[in-house]
């Protein structure tokens, strides 16, 4: 009848992105983990997603206190360092995907202002347990687990 039919071939990545990253079932409960829980998780994923206005709406924005220099080095995206965030390291990225990415982070951070790597921050945190807790999570009810204390216990065990 008509020659105008829906298609999924024509550069439909825009749709896939929105459908899979912004729609679909989300389980907002302690039994589940999702990219919405980015106070603690999905930090690198968040760097790959560009539209922060909407990201902020869904609690995906960079938490206040994110060290943008370090993040910029970690994701090889120098412009991120120009972003308007205070230069205070937080524990939001601790322990997330430390494997596989270490080499690159190490290399890149050698040219950055700060010499820290993810591992060094781990050490920092251990030296002063809970020291960064006050500054990190701003959105209420968005911290399914506060990893600083948990991991401390794990390490001691």
């Amino acid at each position: 009848m008509t020659d105008f039919q829906p298609s999924r071939q024509q550069a439909d990545l825009a749709d896939v992105l929105e459908l899979l990253l912004d729609k679909g079932i989300v389980i907002n409960a302690d039994i589940a983990v999702s990219i919405g829980d980015t106070e603690l998780l999905g930090v690198q994923l968040r760097a790959a997603i560009a539209s922060f206005e909407t990201a902020a709406k869904y609690g995906l924005a960079f938490p206040e206190g994110t060290d943008m220099d370090r993040l910029a080095a970690a994701v090889d995206e120098p412009e991120l360092a120009e972003s308007d965030r205070p230069n205070i390291p937080i524990d939001a990225t601790r322990g997330v995907n430390v494997t596989g990415e270490d080499g690159r982070i190490q290399r890149d951070s050698s040219t950055a202002d700060r010499e820290h790597t993810l591992d060094e921050f781990e050490d920092d945190d251990h030296a002063s347990p809970g020291g960064e807790d006050d500054g990190s999570p701003k959105d209420e009810g968005e911290t399914p687990r506060q990893s600083a204390t948990d991991s401390q216990t794990e390490d001691d065990a």
């Binding site: 550069a11 990545l13 899979l20 907002n28 998780l41 560009a50 322990g95 009810g141």
Partner: protein
């Protein structure tokens, strides 16, 4: 990898309680069957042939509300009618800054949900990177606890798919086309010509403002007309923000710039400035009519229409906000 690294990684996984994680793709309706065959029709059952690689090439399985599990391609002795979730075992959230890797994961996720659609009719899809703790038992308990909501949602979307419609304007409506139908603007033109320089400048500004306002009004009428004719054709019509809520960071500055798949779907260049976007839930039968309608819209000068689908009903899933004080998500179940 040093021992220290290994210990840190293990600790990280334990921190997030994902040692028994199940990555969720979608919830499907299972029909009752014996030995992989449907009881009623004798046709080979869906469960038997469900075999597709998931995100990061992980093998996928089906877990039912009773906590039963079938791995991909496995033919169960019998299948009780009920609901099941397509899952794979995972220990951590999928997290990468590389947009290419993220895209690959998204496509793999989508492929599983597409396969589920082909085998089980329309599923209820999960958002990418939704992981449930507590192994198969955890998945079963969740399915059981939410079974009423899930069944209702599955019934609602049965036989329907999501389609996306974007109407864009590539060229502004020509000034002449507006002025000929607008006495006020037509009257301004000779006044501008006759006025002194200062007055002409002010009048011209007024003229431009009115022109803009008329253009916006025309677009509003176009949108209202489309909505009015679209609504009766589809099961649900959901207006979306004019711009997509999610896009990928520009990857041109990364080390391997220049590859063709780096295009991030920038709609503005190809399809003009979006003037409206919709997610619709519609049956296959309705799509011809929707297509004809969109055809008539796309025929207008300076207008493009993008019509994509069929997609799983990502925009039409129920919300599960058990213990959250966040504002409810923009989801809708008709």
């Amino acid at each position: 990898m040093t021992d220290e690294d290994r210990r840190t990684t293990t600790t990280a996984a334990a921190d997030h309680g994902l040692d028994e994680g199940r990555y969720l793709y979608c919830v499907v309706a299972l029909r009752g069957s014996d030995a992989g065959r449907e009881r009623d029709t004798g046709r080979e059952h869906d469960v038997a042939s469900f075999d597709v690689a998931g995100v990061d090439d992980e093998p996928v399985s089906i877990v039912t509300s009773t906590g039963e599990r079938w791995d991909g391609g496995q033919t169960p002795e019998s299948v009780e009618a009920g609901i099941g979730a397509i899952v794979h075992d995972c220990e951590e959230l999928y997290d990468a800054a590389d947009p290419r890797l993220l895209k690959r994961w998204l496509v793999q996720h989508q492929r599983v949900v597409d396969e589920a659609t082909a085998q089980f009719d329309t599923p209820i899809p999960f958002q990418f990177d939704t992981i449930l703790r507590g192994g198969d038992g955890g998945v079963g308990s969740w399915l059981e606890a939410e079974s009423e909501t899930l069944r209702r949602a599955l019934d609602t979307v049965a036989g329907l798919c999501e389609y996306r419609i974007v109407v864009g304007r590539t060229e502004p409506i020509p000034t002449a086309a507006i002025v000929t139908e607008d006495d006020e603007l037509a009257a301004l033109e000779p006044r501008i010509d006759a006025a002194s320089e200062g007055t002409a400048h002010l009048l011209k500004k007024q003229y431009e403002q009115q022109l803009d306002s008329r253009r916006r009004e025309r677009d509003r009428q176009l949108v209202a007309g489309l909505e009015e004719r679209l609504e009766p054709l589809v099961a649900t019509l959901q207006p979306l923000d004019r711009r997509p809520s999610v896009s990928l960071a520009d990857v041109s500055s990364t080390t391997e710039a220049g590859s063709e798949d780096d295009a991030t779907g920038d709609e503005v260049t190809d399809d003009g400035e979006p003037i409206c976007r919709y997610a619709v839930l519609a049956s296959d039968d309705a799509i011809d009519e929707v297509g004809s309608l969109l055809d008539s819209v796309a025929d207008r000068d300076g207008i493009t229409v993008r019509f994509t689908g069929p997609w799983p009903p990502y925009s039409f899933v129920p919300a599960f906000d058990e213990d959250s004080d966040e504002p409810p998500r923009q989801t809708e179940v008709p």
